[in-house]
Amino acid sequence: MQEDTIAAISTPIGEGAISIIRLSGPESISIVNGIFKTPDNHGLIEAASHTIHYGHIVDPEDNSIIDEVLVNIMRAPRTYTREDIVEINGHGGGVPLRRILELVMRGGCRLAEPGEFTKKAFLNGRIDLAQAEAVIDIIRAKTDLGSRVALSHLKGSLSKEIEEIGDEIIDIVAAIEVAIDFPEDDLEDVDISNITDDLLGISKRLSHLLDTADSGRILRQGLKTAIIGKPNVGKSSLLNLILRESRAIVTEIPGTTRDIIQETVNIKDVPLILLDTAGLRETGELVERLGIERTLEALEEAELILYVVDSSTELTSEDHDILDRSVNKDVIVVLNKIDLPSITTKETIRDLLKEKGRDLPIVQISAKNRSGLEDLERVILEEVFKGKSLSGAQDLIMLNVRQKDLLERGIKRLNEGLDGIERGLPADIIALELKAVGRILSEITGKFIDEEIIDRIFSQFCVGK
C-alpha cells in the first residue's frame, strides 16, 4: 500500500536557533534530493541510512539559495515511523523555514495533520498503547475545535472571501452540470466565454488574496483608528456603537468629550485601537483647546480615520480643515444621524470630496438607531485589506503554510482549467476541474461542495419532467 509522504516543521517556529523540517514516507528522500545541493554534488538517493549531509536548500525554479542546512537521512524501517525519514536542520528563522516547507510540498508531499507522525508510528507498530493514547488526545483536541479548525488561523474576512469565491465556483459548476444532467430541459446554454470571464475574475481575486495575506497585511497589534469630527456629530455615540457598550459619555452639548478615550475592539478578528476624540472647532475654552490639540495629534498618528459628519447640519470650514489635515491618510466618511431630516447628503459630501480631489468611501449610519454598523465594519475591513492602512504597522500575521499552499494549489488548478477552456476542453472536464478547485478551497473553509452543487442545481434551475 503506497502511503503519502508527509512533512511538518517539528520545532516551534521562532523558538531556538535551529528548526527542523521532518518528512516521512516513501518519497521523502527523492523530494529533498530535488532541492538540496551539497558542495561536492553528491545526491541523497544513494545516501546510507542514518547519515548527515551538509549543503544548501536551493529553489529549483531560479536556483536561489534558501538556507544553509544539515540533512539527516534515515531509511525505513529503523525509524520512528518505520518509513523513510528526512530531517532538514535549518537556521531557525520563520521565513526560510516556511520557504523550505513550501518547496518540499511543491515537490509532492503534503502537510502532516496534527499528531500524524505519531499516528504513523503507532500504525506501523513503532510505539505502544500508552503513547497512542496521547495521539488520540491530540486528534480529539482537533475534533473539539470542530469546524472552526479549518478557519482558526484565518482572519474572518479572508475566509469569508474564500467562501464567497467557493460559492461562485459552485454556481458556475452547477450551471454546467445541470446542462449535462438535464440536456433535454429548457435551459439557457452555458456561455463558455462568460464562464471564462468569471473564472479570470476569481483567479485574480485569489491571487490578490494570496498577495495580501502573503505580505502580511493583517495586523496583530491593532490598527490605530481615530474618530474625528466636529463637536456633537456623534463621535462618542459611534464609539459606543462599535464597542457595543456605553463607554463614552454622550450628551447633546457640543464639546462633551475633552480627553481621548482609547479602546480596542475586534472586527471579524481584525483588531482595531479606537480613539474617540474631542470635536474640532475654534474655541476659547482652555480645556477644550487642550483636548483639540490631542485630537490633532491623534489624527497625525492614526492609520485609519473615521471622519464623522452630522447629516442634519451644514458642512462648514472645519470640515474642509479636517479633510486638509488628513490628506495622506485612509479616511472613511461616516455620515451620521441619517434618521433625522438630512441637510448634508452623500451627494454634498461627494461634491466636497471632488473639489478636494479625493475619493473616499462614504458610509451612512444612525448611531441612535444602531443602523449602518454592518456596512461600516465591512468598509473598515475593505480598507484594511486594501493594504493602504498599514503604513506604520509591524509584527504581522501571515497565512499559515497549509492555507497558503492550498490557495496556491487552488490558483494553479484554476489557471490550468482556464488554459483547458482556451484549448477547447469539453464541458464535462471543465466541470471536473472546477470541482477540484472548489474542493481545494473547501479545505480552507471546511465546507463540502459536492452535495452543495446538487442542491444548487435543484434550487436554481427548473428541471425534470
Partner: protein
Amino acid sequence: MEIYDVIVVGTGHAGCEAALAAARMGCKTLLFTLNMDNIALMPCNPSIGGPAKGHLVREIDALGGQMGKNIQKTALQIRRLNTKKGPAVQALRAQADKKRYFAVMKYVLENTENLELRQGLVDEVLVKGSQVAGVSTNTGSIYHGKTVILCTGTYLKGRIHIGEVSFESGPYGQFPSLRLADNLRSLGFEMVRFKTGTPPRIDARTIDYTKMQKQTGDRLLGGFSYEEEESLTQELPCWLTYTTPETHRIIRDNLESSSLYGGWITGIGPRYCPSIEVKIMRFPERERHQIFIEPEGWKNNEMYVSGLSNSLPEDIQTIMIRTIPGLEKTHITRFAYAIEYDCLVPTELKLSLETKRIDGLFTAGQINGSSGYEEAAAQGIIAGINAALKVKGEAPFILDRSESYIGVLIDDLVTKGTEEPYRIMTSRAEYRLLLRHENADIRLSEKGFRLGLLSPPRYKEFCEKKVLIEEEIKRLKTSEIVPSKEINNALESIGTPPLKKPIPLAELLRRPDVDYRAVDILLPSEFKLSADVIHEVETEIKYEGYISRQLNEVERFKRMEERRIPYDLDYSKIPGLSSEAIEKLEKVRPISFGQASRISGVSPADISIVMIYMEEQRKGKRG
C-alpha cells in the same frame, strides 16, 4: 418440501434483473408477479436512458443483464445526448414501446432455465431467528426460500391522489401491496413515505401536431447493449409544445384543490421531478414550460404528456391541458396522479443490498428509496447476484464508486441514505471521466464473465476488442509521423499547423482540431477498427492527462476502500469517538474506512480514532 434458492418478489425492472441474474447463476429461482400481464411495466415515462441512467444500462449490459438488450429490441427512437459536452457524459436515451418491452421481457423470463414465474400477492416475509425462510401469500400459500429479494417498487401501501380524492392503489391501475409494509415494520425495519407522480395520457387522435415541433431520433442501431442488434428501421417521433400563461393561471387559481398544495400528501417527492404545480410556484418568472408528447408504442394511441405531472382534480386537468397549443381538443385517457408509497430507509442495507436485520433478505429498486427504471434494474442485478453468491456460500459482489455508476448509486443510498427518491446523475460520480458510456464493458465485462452471467462468445469478443484498443494506443504512442511536404499540406488542409519535426501520432491526435480519422489516413493502422474501438482509443489519448489524474485520485480512494472494518465492531467501546459518530457508524456499519469517511457526521478525526483503536485491538490480541 420444495426449497427455492432465491425467491424474488415483484417483476418490475429490479425484479426482472434480480431473477434473471440468480437463475443464470444456476440458482433455482421463483419470481412472483402481481399480474402475469404486467411485467417490466413502465408506469411513468415511456423512455429509458439519459445521462448517468444510460450509463447504468450499459453497465447492466456489460455485467450480462437484460435491460439494454430489451430496450434495444423495443425502442421507438433513440437519441444520442451530450455529444458536444465531452467524453464522459455522452449518453443514449430511447423511447420505448411499452407493450413490446413487456412482451419481450416476459418471453425472456419464461425461457430462462431455473426460473419459475408465479402470479401472486406476497404478504409476509417468513423469518426464522434472524434468517429469512421464505414468503407467504395473501391466499395462505407458503414458499420456502434460502434467500428472498423484495422488489416491490411503489406498491407498498401505495395510495393514489387526484385532487381531494385518494385511494389505495399500485401505480398505473395495479393492485397495491398493503400488508407487506406492516410486516416489514414488525420485523423492525425503519421505513419512510415517499411520493412521486405521473402526467396524463391522451388520445393520439385528439392532438393537433401542426402546432408542435417534431422531434425525431438519431436513427441509431442501438448502442444500449454490446450485443449486435437489428437496426431501427422505423421511428416514431416525439412532439414538443409549451404551457401558456393561461395554463399557469388555471393551475394557480386551483392550487388549493391539488392534492399536493391542498395538504393531502405527506410523502416526500423528488426535487428533480417536480409536478407542474411545483414548477409554476417555484419558478414564477418562467413564462412557459416544455411539454413533450411521447408515443407509448406502435399500434397504441395513448400518448404520454411529459412535463405535466400533477395532482389536480380531473375536471381541472381537462381544462388546464386544453390551454396548451395543439391540445385544445385533446381527450385524456388516463388522468395524472400523485402516488405515495412506503420504502425502506436504505441505510438498513449492506452494500450487497442484503438487509442488515435479516440474513438472506435482499431488497432492490424503489423499495430502497431510489426512483427510475434504470436505478431499479441496476440494484436488481446486484441483489440477484448477491443472493446467488450467498446461496453458494461465496463473498458478496460489490462495485465501488471508481468503477461504476452502479457503485455510486448503491454507495450513495446505503452510506448516506436519501431524503428524497434518489436519482442517479453524472455529477454524483467523482470519477466520471473514467465511467464512460463507451467503456462500461472494459470496466465490467471481466466481472460479468467471472460471475457466469456473460456468455463465453461475448466474453471472447470483448477480450479481442480490448486487445485491439490496447494495441492501437500503443501504436499511436510509438510510431512517429515524419513531416514531409505532402503531410504538412494535408495537415494545413484540415486547419492544423504543419509539423516541424517528427512527433508521435498520439501527440498529433491530442491537437483539438485533429481526430482519429485524420491520423489514420496519414499513417493507417493495419487493422480495420470498429467505431467503438476508435472512440475508445481517441478518448484515451486525447484526454490522457485528465484520465491519468483521475486514476491517481482513484488510487488514493482505493487505499481507503481496501482498509476494512469488521462488520461487528463495537463502536460504543471506542474511547474518544463523538456520540454522533458512534450513532452514525452503528447505523451504517461501513465495511471500509473509505465508506466510513463518506458518512455525514463522521469526521476525519473520528476515522483516525477508529483506525488507532482497531490497531490497538489487533496488537492486544497478538500480544
